[in-house]
């Protein structure tokens, strides 16, 4: 029995110490939910300091180590994703809590329970918390953070007179780079937390008098049974629970596939557009608001009006004591809250309707998970950074290059390579599955060769290949059809497609066939070369047809003697004419071949 009592006493005493530590005591409102939120903010500050200091031990702020070190923390360090997740979501919760606190204060200004000084402190810490969130978003140096920071510093630069100087100071130069990261990091992990701590502590008296606190917390039943203790406990438990659930993401499925904890988009690529750029949810209203200020008016929406609101926030207690003043403040507050909600909802609604944004979002998510997949597959990211992994990845770059350079004539599975439909009809063959058995079977069928997916809209539609298919192949008997099928197997094997490897090793029947005789009998070698050279033949050489080497050489110059020669339709010599370089062609080819 004695130990039980002792336990209780220790628990009560330590809880009391914690509450006293978290609580700014000297303020006039010792009870109520505002007090509980203050305490919650103190609690979150403790959590952020702890997780932040731990993450600091893993983080390296430079443009080609930031994403990489965050990735390593997230994927390799035990519980790294969890620590990062807590830090990320506690930050979001701090934003919510501080905004809630501010609203509670404004709506009570002028009433007996109001306190001017602690309201100003709430305003102060709300500003610091937002600044912490903004600086924190850039630190992983991922696409999302980069483009948000870029737009924000741009908006800052719109400020009259001091704007461009301010922008330079924030960026540490004219563009986002190493110095932007080092600055943001120093602000995020050093200067701002100090300012926040001062904001949380400033109301405290040096000696813990806390009369009001004792009154509200200590009843005859003991410290933990007071109504205020209960409120504080509820706030802390609920807040922590929110953070825990959001970071754990029980709905995200297995840990391997999904990125739990906090999001991490693809490493920064400033040279390419990032149409998926959007601000965080609590700035969506501002983003939407700016849409209504076209052209040179932007500065009004981005600088003047927000600063006016800020001025109102700072000075509203001055007239808040009078009845009319209080009404005015409450009306403005109601309008602001309504406006913010409405604008945020509008922003979300408009994005949901915007198909090109939704697609960009999907593509950005795809690139993010591909970057993580590539980084995880290697035994270490190369020194040049994770971006080079993406830039040298055919699965990422192939579709983009195809869409930009090939899709005005060709299609890939009826789209432009990136999954977008193209309005105009194709004027060259569909290259999805090029040189595979299925593709060749269709190509060599009288029903398909003249469709737009093959020669339908090319100058070859009246050529010998088309005639051969629509007339000769159309009249094949069963045995000749069998031979054609063997030709398809042999020709397709030239491509050595990764997807067909299992087929080619399993059915080895065609290997024993005399392929020269077969190709002659079917009629291919009348026009095409196949493992022999003959200068009189003007159709493309079928030796190594569809292989990596064959395709690269073809794209480099389709008009060369080996391929179409003078019969080339409209396809440019991509390498010879300097449209693409060797690496870019290889990326397209590897992607087409599914490598």
């Amino acid at each position: 029995m004695k130990t039980g009592k002792c336990w209780q006493e220790v628990l009560t005493a330590s809880m009391k110490q914690l509450f006293l530590f978290l609580m700014p005591e000297n303020d006039a409102d010792p009870r109520g939910w505002r007090r509980a939120i203050w305490m919650l903010l103190g609690w979150f500050f403790l959590i952020q300091t702890l997780t932040g200091l731990v993450m600091w031990m893993f983080y390296s702020p430079s443009t080609h180590t930031a994403w990489e070190s965050v990735f390593y923390l997230q994927h390799e360090i035990p519980m790294g994703w969890w620590i990062r997740g807590i830090h990320y979501w506690a930050a979001e919760c701090m934003v919510v809590a501080s905004l809630l606190l501010l609203t509670l204060y404004i709506s009570s200004i002028g009433s007996a329970a109001s306190n001017h000084r602690s309201y100003l402190r709430a305003l102060w810490i709300t500003g610091i918390i937002l600044a912490l969130a903004i600086t924190g978003y850039l630190l992983p140096w991922d696409q999302h953070g980069f483009w948000s920071a870029k737009i924000r510093t741009h908006i800052m630069g719109l400020t009259p007179v001091i704007g461009s100087g301010l922008e330079r100071l924030m960026l540490g130069g004219t563009e986002l780079g190493h110095y932007t990261l080092t600055r943001f990091f120093a602000l995020h992990a050093g200067w701002l937390p100090i300012l926040l701590w001062l904001g949380l502590r400033m109301g405290r008296s040096p000696t813990p008098r806390a009369k009001g606190l004792k009154d509200s917390m200590e009843t005859e039943n003991g410290f933990l049974w007071g109504a205020q203790s209960w409120r504080c406990g509820v706030a802390i438990v609920m807040g922590s629970l929110c953070v825990g659930i959001l970071a754990w993401q029980p709905w995200a499925g297995d840990l391997e596939g999904a990125l739990r904890g906090a999001p991490l988009s693809a490493p920064v690529n400033a040279a390419e557009p990032y149409p998926a750029a959007r601000p965080e949810w609590y700035f969506l209203f501002l983003y939407q608001f700016l849409k209504y200020f076209p052209g040179p008016l932007e500065v009004v929406g981005a600088i003047f009006i927000p600063n006016l609101i800020l001025l109102w926030l700072v000075f509203l207690p001055m007239w808040g004591k009078s009845r009319i003043g209080r009404r005015v403040n409450q009306t403005i507050l109601a309008f602001l809250c309504l406006g913010v909600c409405l604008l945020s909802m509008l922003a979300i609604h408009e994005d949901q309707q915007n198909t090109s944004y939704l697609r960009a979002r999907k593509e950005a998510d795809g690139e993010a998970s591909r970057a993580r997949e590539l980084a995880a597959s290697l035994n270490g990211i190369p020194q040049s950074g994770a971006l080079t992994l993406l830039l040298e990845d055919s699965q990422t770059q192939g579709p983009k290059l195809f869409a930009e350079h090939c899709s005005s004539c060709h299609r890939y599975d009826r789209h432009d390579g990136r999954g977008l439909p193209v309005e105009e009809a194709p004027s060259a063959s569909d290259l999805a599955g090029f040189a595979s058995r299925t593709w060749l079977r269709k190509f060599l069928s009288p029903d398909h060769i003249l469709t737009p997916a093959f020669f339908g809209h090319t100058s070859f539609k009246d050529g010998e290949m088309a005639t051969f298919t629509t007339e000769t192949i159309a009249s094949f008997d069963t045995q000749e059809r069998q031979q054609l099928e063997e030709v398809i197997h042999i020709l397709s094997a030239e491509a050595r497609l990764p997807a067909q490897k299992h087929l080619e090793t399993s059915d080895a029947a065609w290997r024993s066939v005399d392929r020269d005789a077969l190709f002659y009998e079917v009629g291919c070698t009348e026009c095409h070369g196949f493992h022999f050279e003959d200068e009189d033949l003007d159709a493309p050489d079928l030796t190594g047809y569809g292989s990596r080497e064959w395709l690269i050489e073809f794209i480099s110059n389709p008009s060369s003697e080996r391929f179409y020669g003078e019969q080339n339709d409209r396809m440019p010599a991509y390498l010879e004419e300097g449209i693409l370089n060797q690496e870019q062609i290889s990326l397209i080819v590897d992607w087409l071949r599914g490598q």
Binding site: I151, H154, G173, P273, Y274, P275, F293, G295, E423
Partner: protein
Amino acid sequence: MHQPLTSRRSFATALLYLAAPLGIMASIAWSCLKALLWPLSSKSKSTKGIFFKVTQLKNLPLDGLPKRFEIRSDRRDAWNLYTNQAVGSVWISRKGSTEVSAWSTSCPHAGCMVQLASNHNHFQCPCHNSRFEINGKRMGPQNPSPRDMDRLEVEIREEEEVWVRFERFKSGISQKQLVSQS
């Protein structure tokens, strides 16, 4: 005799204990400010951009359809020098045989990258939906962009090489104001 000495001493003591630390702190603070405000002092390097060879005339379609080309150059970021990097890109279109126009891909509104709309008949910015005609002119009255797309100087050299003077301009204002390269 004692009195002045004491007061002189106490003056010296006061100097030592007050002025010296203040002076030291002030000089340190001055040095710190000097370092922190350094990005402001490197402002004077506002020069015109240089010409880059971007492509060849025959790679530009005759129907005026704009094509995007990357500008590759050495790029300095704080302590690092990156050689042959994509530092930006330009839209180039050709009308007739040699009439070539070039625009910066950076949106004059907020600096996002302007793209060609999927129907290929106008430019569009993905961030705030600025829209421009194919000749870079702003479309519609509710356009977020304060000015037309930034036209860049083009030179045709050796009868077929397309050279573009690559420059950046401050976004968000109606005048075309050069941003210095760092």
